[in-house]
């Protein structure tokens, strides 16, 4: 201890102290944030990564590069995480059918096992968001009212108040959220696919994400209280309805009434 106290006025002592303090706060922060993060659902084996690598090279490397480093036609996948791969591949958005404003949803090209292997490979390239576990998706534990609040404040601008989707610039769009799998909703928030912003766990905590999913599933399962919902598109579809079906019915009756005169 004497040696240490003797060196306390050493010119580098301040630096050493600073390093220690930084390590401590950084470490604490890391611990605090990981406790807030959804637990990883998957434990990937070396063979998963290996198989994933083969699938990746034959299906994805044209655009994303042989080692996922990216190219002119596709971004780097280092650090995008397993959640990103799971979302893009399981919704059929990747592999992309063609370059366009936005990757289109289509029937998934890979089965669950292959998707898992691809995710394992991309996760091995660099740390990133992981596929959420069952508990983070369990809507029975969610709070729909809080979910509505979070959804209306963060998501409705693009996805429409009823989750019916909406247009973005230059042919991009926010898709409808009805009928989307819980896991995919979670992963989309976590990774921000296409033009969507990332809502990381500091923005919207895992519990709040679950609330949002709960709200969306409540909306999906509740039939429209007022009858036929007209696509939840608001006043435009209502106007179209009254100008077409409504007006036709009225004209029909008007013609009937006036044809009975002679």
């Amino acid at each position: 201890m004497k040696a240490l106290s003797q060196k306390r006025r050493h010119p580098l002592a301040l630096l050493a102290l600073l390093v220690c303090a930084l390590l401590l706060t950084g470490g604490l922060y890391a611990v605090a944030t990981t406790t807030n993060q959804a637990k990883a659902a998957e434990n990937y084996t070396a063979s998963d990564v290996d198989e994933g690598s083969k699938l990746f090279i034959s299906n994805c490397s044209t655009c994303h590069g042989m080692n996922g480093e990216g190219s002119d036609s596709g971004p780097s996948l280092v650090g995008v995480g397993a959640a990103s791969v799971d979302f893009q591949v399981s919704t059929g958005r990747m592999p992309m059918q063609m370059q366009g404003p936005q990757a289109q949803v289509k029937p998934a090209q890979f089965n669950e096992e292959q998707t898992r292997q691809l995710a394992a490979y991309v996760a091995s390239l660099g740390a990133g968001p992981e596929v959420p576990d069952e508990e983070s998706l369990d809507v029975s534990q969610g709070d729909a009212a809080n979910g509505a609040k979070v959804f209306l404040a963060n998501c409705a601008m693009c996805h429409n108040a009823a989750g019916a989707g909406g247009a973005l610039t230059r042919g991009k769009y926010a898709p409808s959220l009805m009928g989307v799998d819980e896991k995919q909703i979670y992963e989309a928030m976590q990774t921000g696919p296409q033009n969507m912003p990332v809502f990381n766990d500091a923005n919207i905590t895992p519990d709040e994400k679950r609330d949002v999913i709960t709200y969306l599933k409540t909306m999906e399962n509740n039939t429209d209280p007022g009858g036929f919902g007209l696509g939840s598109l608001g006043p435009v579809s209502e106007g179209l309805f009254i100008w077409t079906i409504g007006l036709l019915i009225i004209i029909g009756f008007a013609v009937w009434l006036t044809s009975r005169s002679a």
Binding site: A144, L152, A156, M157, G166, A174, G226, G234, L257
Partner: protein
């Protein structure tokens, strides 16, 4: 009746036999309604389905008053903050205004509330649809001409009032969607040079959104506007009675008579029945089709604007005008005049586009009278094809309005037809300027073509599709001549002539007169004249010749 009661003793007073008759007689001798009913009951209304839309609008208004009264019993028009405790789960515990909370209560916790809310809203949509279709009917048939110009103006005022009524009602629930609409009103108010901010402050009672606007709109919506509409409806109907109804041309129909059914008993029964039909149709729609799902939008908060935020259809055109106006292309539209006044042209120009339409609508009867110099009384309607320029202009106005209306739905068009919203806007900008011109040219041409077709039918009869060979080998199609009644309808229209620019009293041809002359040429230079009796005779003679040849060949051709 009055004569018999004033001359005392000469005649015995009328004594009713039945109980109902006694009551009726008692009331009549006290209030003297029978002359009024006699007069009104003998009003004649011609029958045509297109004459019914004004009635539809009137019935919608009555349904709006009835359903609106019900809603007013439960609606709380204040912006006091409260916590929602009703039965709609996703909103439970959310802070909101009393207006929004009570709207949710009407929807979920008041028995029959959602049905009546939906009935009220659907009736409002049909109200404005009926008004617009009714106006289109009046316009395209020329029913706004003397003596009905002022009633056209009253109708236009009713149209504007319907917009105000609709918008003020749409804003009441205080959800995010209605608040977005109010934010645009705030923006429009602020765009007024110099005094904009003050106007906005006056409307909202301070900085937007404030705490007073819902209460103010409530009074506008349930008291001021309905009163104005009611007063205007009375004036409107009074003028209809004074002017008598117009009628389409037909045998026996002149400028001085009306051919149709009297109000009592036929028309009263029909109209009464039609009220219940409209009520029934609206009730069926309200019971099965959801409208304005306010629970989806959440309580108003000035920060978010949700995707797919649009006003009700009758306000779409105002929103559309703002949406297709460029903000910074090809230069910035915010003009700074000497550092004194800022002119936000990106908002002022769309307002100009809307104002032009409204002013054109109000003044059209005078514009047309100026061009045609036709100041005669018109009780016989034009068939739209027989006024090609007016019909073309009407369709051009509809395209103008329609482009603005569709412009408000650009985002939905983009997502539903897989287009880029930018491209939709570019196309609509093009159509805003050129669509009406193209529509005018095409419509006018179509009208002229239809008139020529009418001419053809009058002269040569209906094509029967039977082709026969004449003895010398020529093939002809047998035409069946029209009966007189149908022919009358096709030939009885006015033959308007081009009226070139005239000299005024000083012998000068003024600039405006030259313009009038040019417009008159645009109106009438390609006109198709109605068939004259001489032309008809000539055509008949020619046909008689063919038919004669056919008949004489009948016996010989049977051998083939």
């Amino acid at each position: 009746m009055s004569a018999s009661t004033t001359t005392q003793g000469n005649t015995a007073e009328y004594q009713a036999d039945t109980n109902v008759g006694k009551i009726a007689n008692f009331v009549d001798t006290r209030v003297g309604l029978s002359p009024i009913i006699k007069e009104f009951g003998r009003k004649i209304f011609p029958d045509h389905w297109s004459f019914m839309f004004g009635e539809v609008a009137l019935y919608c208004f009555i349904i709006l008053l009835l359903s609106g009264t019900f809603l007013a019993f439960w609606f709380d028009p204040t912006m006091v903050t409260t916590e929602y405790t009703g039965s709609y789960v996703p909103m439970q515990g959310v802070e909101m205004s009393a207006a929004y909370a009570s709207s949710l209560n009407i929807s979920f916790d008041i028995r029959g509330g959602l049905f009546l809310r939906q009935l009220h809203h659907w009736a409002a949509l049909l109200f404005s649809v009926a008004i617009m279709v009714h106006m289109a009917r009046i316009f395209f048939t020329g029913a706004f001409r003397r003596p009905r110009e002022l009633n056209w103006v009253v109708g236009c005022l009713l149209f504007v009032m319907a917009l105000v009524a609709g918008f003020s009602g749409y804003s009441l629930p205080d959800d995010v969607l209605s608040g977005n609409g109010l934010r645009i009103v705030d923006g429009l108010a602020r765009s007024v040079p110099l005094v904009g901010a003050y106007i906005s402050m006056l409307i909202f009672g301070g900085e937007f959104p404030g705490h007073g606007i819902i209460g103010r709109l409530y009074i506008v919506h349930v008291f001021i506007v309905p009163m104005i509409i009611l007063a205007l409806v009375v004036v409107h109907l009074f003028m209809v009675v004074v002017h008598k109804h117009t009628q389409f041309p037909g045998p026996g129909r002149t400028e001085n008579n009306v051919v149709g059914f009297p109000v009592g008993p036929v028309y009263a029964a029909k109209a009464g029945g039609f009220f219940f039909i409209v009520f029934g149709v609206l009730a069926a729609i309200a019971a099965t089709v959801q409208i304005n799902a306010i629970w989806n939008y959440g309580p108003y908060d000035p920060s978010p604007v949700q995707a797919g935020s649009q006003p009700d259809w009758y306000m779409l055109w105002t929103d559309g005008a703002l949406r297709i106006m460029p903000g910074n292309w090809p230069f910035t539209w915010e003009w700074d005049l000497f550092g004194l006044v800022t002119l936000p042209m990106a908002i002022l120009l769309p307002i100009v586009a809307l104002t032009v339409f409204i002013i054109g609508m109000f003044t059209w009867p005078w514009i047309e009278r100026w061009v045609t110099k036709d100041n005669r009384v018109h009780n016989i309607l034009d068939r739209p094809r027989n006024a090609p320029a007016r019909t073309g202009l009407g369709v051009a106005a509809m395209v103008y309005y329609g482009v603005l209306m569709i412009a408000a739905t650009g985002d939905l068009i983009a997502t539903h037809f897989h287009l880029a919203v930018n491209d939709v806007i570019y196309l609509l900008r093009f159509l805003f300027f050129f669509g009406p011109i193209i529509a005018f040219i095409i419509t006018r041409r179509v009208c002229l073509a239809l008139q020529r077709k009418d001419r053809e039918i009058v002269l040569h009869g209906r094509e029967t599709g039977r082709v026969q060979q004449l003895p010398h080998g020529e093939f002809i199609e047998v035409h069946e001549p029209l009966d007189e009644y149908r022919r009358y309808k096709l030939v009885a229209f006015e033959d308007n002539q081009v009226l070139p620019a005239q000299q005024d009293a000083k012998g000068k041809v003024t600039g405006s007169e030259k313009l009038r002359g040019r417009l008159s040429r645009l109106f009438f230079e390609d006109r198709v004249a109605p068939v004259t009796p001489a032309e008809l005779d000539a055509a008949h003679h020619e046909h008689a010749h063919d038919v004669h040849e056919l008949e004489s060949a009948g016996s010989s051709s049977s051998g083939h």
